[in-house]
């Protein structure tokens, strides 16, 4: 693989049931590329958590996945409300999700911690009222 492969997805903010379509497609693509199952799992979970966050908090956004020889880069961008306190948001168990979201099994306050747990690096670029971009790397 010489040229990096780029996959782009629009994440629909209206449809909670379809959340995960982008991550599921990435999982398929990575499997076809022969990426090890444990790595696929890390990328899939980190990306799914990001997708769910965009649906819950930001009315959707975009997801770009770049697969190069040495790493997989995941860029999740939204024009949502932004994260006022990143340190707080990164704490396991902290969540601002509604009861309705919790009844679906989300809102455990594990989304961002899981994204950090399963990737090698994670950077959050956020501004209140403007949006959030999260960039994650998983090294191959």
């Amino acid at each position: 693989m010489s040229e990096p492969l780029i996959f782009h997805f629009d994440v629909d903010g209206e449809n909670f049931a379809s959340a995960g379509q982008a991550s599921t497609q990435v999982k398929k693509n990575l499997r076809q590329l022969g990426v090890p199952a444990a790595t696929i799992r890390r990328v899939s979970i980190a990306m799914y958590e990001g997708e769910i966050n965009m649906v819950i908090h930001a009315n959707g956004g975009t997801a770009d996945v770049i697969v190069s020889e040495d790493y997989i880069e995941i860029i999740l961008a939204d024009k949502g409300p932004g994260i006022p306190n990143i340190e707080q948001a990164m704490q396991e168990g902290f969540s601002t999700a509604t009861d309705q979201i919790r009844s679906l099994g989300f809102g455990a306050g594990m989304g961002l911690p899981n994204m950090k747990r399963y990737t090698d690096t994670m950077e959050i670029d956020t501004m209140v009222g403007v949006g959030t971009t999260i960039t994650m790397y998983v090294y191959l």
Binding site: A17, T24, K27, A37, R41, I45, I52, L104, G105, M110
Partner: protein, 108 residues
């Protein structure tokens, strides 16, 4: 032990696209992010959560099967989704604790 082999021990098949998959350990939980953070690949995942996100989590976290405890039902169109996504789902009429104890004995 494979997912198929559980059928001989009172577990009912709900969706079984890949029954030859080996089970390695068990995880129990209904909070989906918690499951994604803590469950291991190839675990059997015991839950009572039956919405479409359960299927996505099982697929992405790469569990060997979902076991719906307490006899909970899953909607027919979700079962089709599970089959399309290669997600094995079994059902146990037993409560969660008894289901876990039974799996512990079977996997020992």
């Amino acid at each position: 032990m494979t997912v198929d082999e559980l059928l001989e021990h009172g577990f009912e098949a709900v969706s079984l696209p890949d029954g030859s998959r080996e089970i390695d350990g068990v995880y129990i939980g209904d909070l989906l992010s918690w499951v994604m953070g803590r469950a291991q690949m190839d675990n059997a995942w015991i839950t009572i959560m039956t919405n479409v996100n359960t299927i996505a989590v099982a697929s992405l976290a790469d569990t060997s099967c979902v076991i719906l405890a307490e006899g909970v039902e899953m909607e027919h169109d979700l079962i089709e989704t599970a089959q399309q996504k290669d997600v094995n789902i079994l059902r146990s009429s037993k409560p969660i604790y008894e289901t876990a104890v039974q799996l512990h004995e079977l996997l020992a």
